[in-house]
Symmetry: C2
Subunit: 225 residues, 2 copies
């Protein structure tokens, strides 16, 4: 392995989104680059990157935004305008509360206070095939179907001159599925949802940050880097 991509919320943080300090300490001692990947906006990922001390390549908005450096170019992959159109359509059926609207560049994030399955049925009935609803456990995203943390992993691998098989990925949620599939070693932490666990190469017994520590120690002991 030559790089590690780690999800933030629910993986490096606990349920209340507090940073796991033990996992942070272990990450700081690693000799290979660690890249953060989140469904949150770029400003949040930049802050987490500074405070944790990870690589300045950053994945935000579930892969819809990749920044190469703090002041470097920002690439946008999702189609926010299209997602806004679907949002307006869903507003006819649900009371929806947008999150971080001013900062989002590629998708739409909503508070998790509506019937997501019912909304998915409406999209299916209308034969909307280019946009999907993803529930990260922290927000529901309306996002372009062909953009995810897995496509972001491939972009980041190309940026770094690495093969995707050289990258280890760690996550907890269904929005991490494509990322774990694209990685050489895909790890689900103990609190991960069943869908992610079922496709992971490794499932830790530790939950949240303790799972990250377990995975990193396993990889170190197995001389994976």
């Amino acid at each position: 392995m030559k790089a590690i991509i780690i999800d933030i919320d629910g993986t490096l943080t606990d349920k209340s989104r507090r940073l796991d300090l033990a996992a942070t300490a272990v990450i700081r001692k690693l000799d290979i680059p660690v890249i953060l990947a989140s469904g949150n906006v770029l400003c949040f990922v930049k802050c987490a990157t500074k405070l944790i001390g990870t690589s300045d390549i950053m994945i935000a908005e579930n892969g819809g935004v990749i920044s190469n450096g703090f002041d470097g170019p920002v690439n946008i992959y999702g189609d926010r305008e299209r997602c806004m159109g679907v949002l307006e359509m869903l507003r006819a059926h649900f009371e929806l509360e947008e999150l971080d609207a001013a900062d989002r560049l590629s998708d739409v994030a909503l508070r998790r206070n509506f019937d997501i399955e019912a909304a998915r049925h409406i999209l299916a009935n209308k034969e909307i095939m280019d946009v999907e609803l993803v529930d990260t456990g922290f927000a529901v995203h309306i996002k372009s179907m062909d953009v995810n943390k897995g496509t972001a992993l491939l972009e980041v691998a190309a940026l770094m001159g690495l093969d995707s098989g050289d990258i280890m990925a760690i996550g907890d949620s269904s929005n991490d599925i494509e990322m774990l599939r694209a990685a050489g070693l895909g790890v689900a932490v103990g609190n991960a949802n069943p869908a992610l666990k079922s496709i992971a190469d490794m499932v830790t017994s530790g939950r949240y940050g303790a799972g990250v520590v377990e995975a990193l120690e396993y990889a170190s002991k197995s001389s994976l880097w």
Copy 2:
């Protein structure tokens, strides 16, 4: 003491802006509210507040922005338009690089790559009395003279129904001077600049986060809360 306001960069972080994990652990064990105060933008302070786990009252942009809750009202105190006017005036003399321009609500932040004293002389010669230049060690801010972390401390005290004398404040930089003066107990960490140390009630021997730990342990042992 009934609340603590703590600066982020250079106080809770090291020089490279990595979060001090020991100070974070001590903060999480406290039974009284901790409020973060930064020269950085609100989005950064919100992220730091989530990751550290502090109170959801937040001070950003050196007191120019106060948010009462993550989704609560945001009060803006500085006059960004006036600061932008001064920026344009200074551009005639220096090559200036704005930081976080899209996210700033009350002031202007610049990279620290120009002669700040020379710029101050220009403002003085033009008899500009309502706007000042403040160097936090991480950025130079063009900000309204009558807005600072001290005025923010008074606003936060009012929001919380506290007397400013009930608040402990910890900082490292000249932009923390008014905050330490307004607080009941003002603490400068060991790496603080001389001007801040000279007005502080207490100067820790520990630098950065170690100074925060020292101050909080002193306050606990002295039964200040």
